[in-house]
Symmetry: C2
Subunit: 422 residues, 2 copies
């Protein structure tokens, strides 16, 4: 199916730099506020946002049969729930309005209320997340962890290549990019001594992406790999902050809990799966063969360049990781199929994260744990200081973009600052 | 602090049988529907419900400053969020209206709209659950599982007595008592053979209770054991259905996932923590001493008799377990303190379940896994059939009540029927 808004030949009448994440072929959805607006849905274009409620209010979306205040909700859930047929038409219409062949908005007297500088608005949580699941689907990451903590010769656990391992996470503490949080406290277990309580010492980022569910199922329903894309609205960048020392002590036998649920960070713009379609690439070759319900056809990985930077207080940021979503062993479609194969129901706004995305090369590892190999090889910052894990007052920034045929579709930033323990 | 509605001397003008869970000292909250009503909040009294919206509408709650449609919401969250001072006053006022010394409602011409038979209405999900956490806090359960699957001599894992082990679960598939669901399908691993896909063979119940959060915190805040009760609105019975064979294969290293998230069942009535206060008993003696943040004073366990029955299709129910909440090693207050000690925020309506509640005696075990010791000792049903785990078309019923000084405060039923795999 051809998606009109993806046409690489499209140009906008808005000035967009060649390295902008927000080309006219992207048009990701978010929710913003400023002095005038409590919360309106918007789309990113170049360095600006376009206020969808205002455009709707001025009747530029007539014919799309949208509810009157659909873009004035606190979250995008109700809009997303209208279904892909509607959201796709809306994105096509926005593309048309922004195209240099269209003059409807270019000459609008309301231009100042419709278009605002991204630097002048605050981006809010784009969705009300119902349930949040985190997978563990990068083979390089799982292998690195297995080598460090288990058997270097048998790094992957027996189930790993048979099913996309996943677990439920905490939705309440997922924040939108730009927040800060305090170093968590918890129980840690020194070797040969009783457990102690105090601020976590080994705080780490995890470079991930996440997809947002766009279509509800009922309990008992299963989503096949073939239909999975119909249920995925779009993707974001995701930092699954982890307290390594808390995790080591708590996670057997029921998995990570307080080592994760103190904070997670997501990027504010949901890049639609539609906008990512042109960047599909072949998936990882899966050996042994997966069970039939997990089989799929076609190119289901996506070539998304990913980068992590650490910015110490009052200093320049240093790139510490350059990875890519294409290194994932399990695809998003397989994850969603597996998640629902037992009849588990999903709701619009649910979030499912990839797990740490590491590539095969050392500079492509998606966490400090792997990059410094448990602290053995510290990373030098531009200010001369070294990092084994994340220090107080460091800001961690994740970026991601696809690029092909001079079209760039990016995610913007996913950033958060770690404050000292209280 | 004395809670007026708990007065054991109170008698209602409504006829309440001595073995009713819903004495005038209980007054649990729920949400119901019938032909006339889409969703109204209500209170259980004897064999009836009292429609709170109707009572409010008729001005019997004047002076309590309640929002006009607070009892006409789909869920109780907004009511609970008003805070314990308000919800406690409301419960006291309901108690007054139902007391045999009060005639306001006895002679009301609207009595038929206010009071309805429980058998004539449908109970709905009482709260919109944001996040759901499951703990693992019964020492007899954890010991039994350790004996079966790990080392009988070292059944408890090293962290178990130092922190209340817990993990995040799926909120979307929690249903209210009375539903049915299909036997889940999934991956299982036969010994010495590759994994297979099919209907789960070892479907089990887990006898649990759960508490409902009544007061929000912000990220970074911690709830002390001393203040924890201020954040707990009330409790329900909870069946944490588990697919043992799916779990065995999937749960290492990140915990249970598809083995749990296909369905869970909760009882419809939230019994307030206030109503449970008279039944507090001393907690489990905790050795080794817990870290200071987990210490607590006072009687923080609760003497709640628990029972599980299996009812085969077209047959009588058989009691298979008789346990008690008082056997819990970790208290609800410790669980909540631990959950927030890292700054994890909680929201009104979040649910935190106890984990399987087993007592020390064999008939007190809280799952078929333990009761039949992995199927080695099947249980005989009244119809002559045997159960190692749960069969298709079985209904599992959980009950619970406190009793002291001729006052009974109960939970009603938590029941669900297992249908065959689709």
């Amino acid at each position: 199916m051809e998606i009109k808004a993806n046409n690489p030949a499209l140009k906008s009448w808005i000035d967009i730099k060649p390295d902008s994440d927000f080309s006219i072929q992207n048009l990701p959805f978010g929710v913003y506020s400023d002095k005038q607006v409590t919360h309106h849905a918007c789309i990113a274009i170049g360095e600006q946002i376009m206020d969808l409620h205002m455009v709707h209010h001025l009747h530029y979306f007539k014919g799309l049969s949208l509810p009157e205040n659909i873009f004035a909700n606190q979250y995008l859930n109700e809009f997303i729930a209208l279904g892909k047929e509607v959201t796709r038409k809306l994105r096509d219409r926005v593309s048309e309005l922004l195209s240099n062949t269209n003059t409807e908005l270019q000459n609008s007297p309301n231009k100042d209320q419709i278009f605002k500088k991204q630097s002048a608005v605050q981006m809010l949580m784009p969705v009300r997340i119902g349930d949040y699941t985190d997978f563990y689907s990068s083979i390089d990451h799982a292998t690195n962890v297995g080598k460090m903590f288990r058997d270097p010769e048998n790094a992957l656990l027996p189930n790993w290549k048979h099913l996309p391992v996943g677990y439920h996470g905490r939705a309440s503490s997922i924040c939108v990019s730009g927040h800060s949080f305090h170093r968590p406290k918890g129980q840690m277990k020194p070797n040969d001594a009783p457990p102690v309580f105090g601020p976590c010492k080994l705080l780490d980022f995890e470079l991930e992406t996440a997809f947002i569910i766009g279509k509800q199922t009922q309990m008992g329903e299963t989503i096949s790999t073939e239909k999975a894309d119909d249920y995925i609205f779009g993707m974001v960048l995701f930092n699954d902050w982890s307290a390594r020392d808390i995790q080591t002590w708590e996670y057997v036998p029921l998995g990570p809990f307080l080592a994760k649920n103190f904070a997670s960070t997501m990027s504010p713009w949901i890049v639609t799966l539609d906008a990512l379609e042109p960047f599909r690439v072949a998936g990882y070759k899966q050996e042994p063969k997966v069970l039939p319900y997990l089989e799929y056809t076609g190119n289901k990985n996506i070539d998304i360049n990913l980068e992590v930077l650490i910015q110490p207080e009052n200093s320049e940021a240093t790139t510490v990781s350059e990875s890519n979503y294409k290194y994932m062993y399990w695809t998003a479609e397989q994850q969603l199929t597996h998640h629902t194969v037992n009849g588990c129901n999903v709701n619009v706004g649910d979030m499912m994260a990839s797990g740490t995305i590491s590539g095969p090369e050392k500079h492509q590892f998606g966490s400090m744990l792997e990059l410094t190999w448990r602290g053995a090889n510290p990373i030098k910052m531009k200010d001369g200081s070294e990092r084994k894990f994340i220090n107080d007052n460091d800001t961690v920034i994740m970026k991601g973009y696809c690029q092909k045929n001079n079209v760039r579709v990016g995610f913007g930033e996913c950033k958060a600052k770690l404050l000292s323990a209280t």
